[in-house]
């Protein structure tokens, strides 16, 4: 029987070597796989290249990885956490800053067999012209993000962006079954599908482990073919799995 469910999160995640690249879902704390991120910390993993939209504004989730000095390189759009910048300006962490949409598409492309694509986002800006500091040393830029190949399409500049196929994907879903079929809830979906696609090996933590077929075929947001392991979070489950009209605002 194909059973991707693992009861022991720590044992499941111990296959992730230090030094790995890891694509992570979530937008701030919404849809972020905190149980998996905590397990990475508790297992002592280090030297990680984390590909995720935000660090967040506290020491949970990605913020905990950063605070414990476990991140070598951050690829994302919105770090924000003050101590992240302390580490960046003191040379402890590399910042590959890319537009949020470029991040989403690089993850999608990497998981889809697309080596690279041209996008107009950030063309002619310091994020693509070779002037943005990737890392600092002694208070000065020590290396820069490489200049990206630029080409005109219909008179508009576009830059070449590479797909990201990460070693591992870490995602969170509302519901999942033993086959790895996932269903997300509201805006907690965000980067989770593309982070799962990007990972060569992907772990999904789910709020509810449900029977196979409990998520109908039209309601599977991400099929289990993209997921290798499923764990339960034990996180509080919101009152109802469905979004009801009574929750809608008046606007």
């Amino acid at each position: 029987m194909n059973d991707k469910y693992r009861e022991d999160v720590m044992a499941a995640l111990d296959v992730v070597p230090s030094g790995s690249s890891i694509a992570v879902g979530g937008f701030g704390s919404s849809g972020r796989p905190d149980a998996l991120l905590n397990a990475l910390c508790d297992l002592g993993k280090r030297d990680l290249h984390v590909i995720v939209n935000n660090v967040g504004d506290d020491y949970t989730g990605i913020g905990r990885l950063v605070a414990e000095g476990r991140v070598r390189r951050f690829t994302g759009s919105f770090p924000i956490l003050p101590s992240f910048y302390d580490d960046y300006f003191s040379g402890k962490i590399e910042l590959e800053l890319i537009p949020q949409g470029t991040l989403a598409e690089r993850l999608r492309a990497g998981g889809s067999g697309i080596a690279a694509f041209f996008t107009p986002s950030a063309a002619g800006t310091m994020l693509t012209d070779g002037t943005f500091p990737l890392t600092y040393s002694d208070g000065r830029p020590a290396a820069h993000l490489p200049a990206k190949e630029t080409r005109d399409f219909d008179g508009h500049a576009h830059v070449l962006e590479h797909g990201i196929a990460a070693d591992f994907g870490l995602v969170k879903a509302h519901q999942g079954d033993r086959l790895g079929n996932l269903r997300f809830r509201l805006s907690a979906r965000n980067f989770n599908p593309v982070a799962a696609m990007s990972g060569r090996t992907t772990f999904a933590e789910v709020e509810q482990l449900v029977d196979v077929d409990a998520i109908g075929p039209d309601d599977v947001h991400l099929p289990g073919v993209f997921v290798n392991f499923v764990v339960m979070t034990g996180a509080p489950v919101p009152a109802g799995p469905e979004f009801t009209s009574s929750m809608k605002g008046a606007a």
């Binding site: 701030g28 939209n53 537009p99 949020q100 989403a104 986002s121 063309a123 800006t125 965000n190 606007a251």
Partner: protein, 222 residues
């Protein structure tokens, strides 16, 4: 001390809410728009009667509604600023890749955002002040992909220096992307790549605007 502030007293033009109200008057029924932080967030409360506008948020929400009210917040439903929101009737959720396909693919009718500077070539600088902590979010995708990019901002900065200038001095968000500027003093449109003053705020003269705008522009007052 700037060169202009000894010459140009602060004028009582539109308030920030009045700027939002002025922008709201230009939105068409059925528009889907993305709102940046600051003045743009006030636009929905000034929508004219009968004008239905759908709001998009980068994190994958179409049909963004108000704060759901104390006790009704849902951690799984936020806007791009991570604030609790509701969904309006007809709302939909997409993942981040599809959310930015909506943006980059030109499926939004307008993006309305704040700015540090706008140049006479329609260049926009709004993401980064050198020396501060860099973060970009979705700003560069929004301006690259949306046909109508409307800037809402104070006409001059805190030092009284012009923000509508010949060339941006802050790092760019996008080249030639801005289509309109709404400030406390004026409304400008870019037509064929050239900046045109189309409206002075009530009580503001063409000379007032000329004294506070270093960009080259023509006048075509409506």
């Amino acid at each position: 001390m700037s060169a202009t502030d000894t010459l140009t007293p602060i004028l009582a033009g539109r308030t920030r809410d009045q700027i939002a109200q002025r922008v709201a008057a230009d939105l068409s029924d059925g528009f889907t728009v993305n709102l940046g932080v600051g003045i743009p967030l006030a636009v929905p409360k000034f929508l004219p009667e009968g004008i239905e506008v759908f709001l998009h948020a980068e994190n994958g929400v179409l049909g963004l509604g108000d704060h759901p009210g104390e006790g009704n917040e849902d951690p799984d439903l936020t806007d791009a600023g991570k604030r609790p929101v509701s969904l309006v009737s007809g709302g939909a959720i997409v993942d981040s890749a599809l959310s930015f396909a909506i943006i980059r693919g030109g499926h939004l009718d307008a993006t309305i955002l704040g700015a540090l500077q706008v140049s006479q070539n329609a260049d926009l600088a709004n993401w980064y002040v050198p020396g501060r902590n860099p973060a970009v979010g979705g700003a560069m995708d929004l301006v690259a992909g949306t046909r109508e990019v409307w800037v809402c901002m104070e006409h001059v900065d805190r030092n009284g220096d012009a923000k509508i200038i010949p060339a941006c001095t802050f790092p760019l968000t996008g080249h030639g992307v801005v289509t309109r500027i709404y400030t406390d003093l004026a409304v400008f449109h870019f037509r064929g790549g050239a900046l045109v003053l189309t409206e002075c705020a009530p009580g503001i003269t063409v000379a007032d605007i000329r004294a506070r705008t270093t960009a080259a522009y023509t006048e075509d007052l409506e």
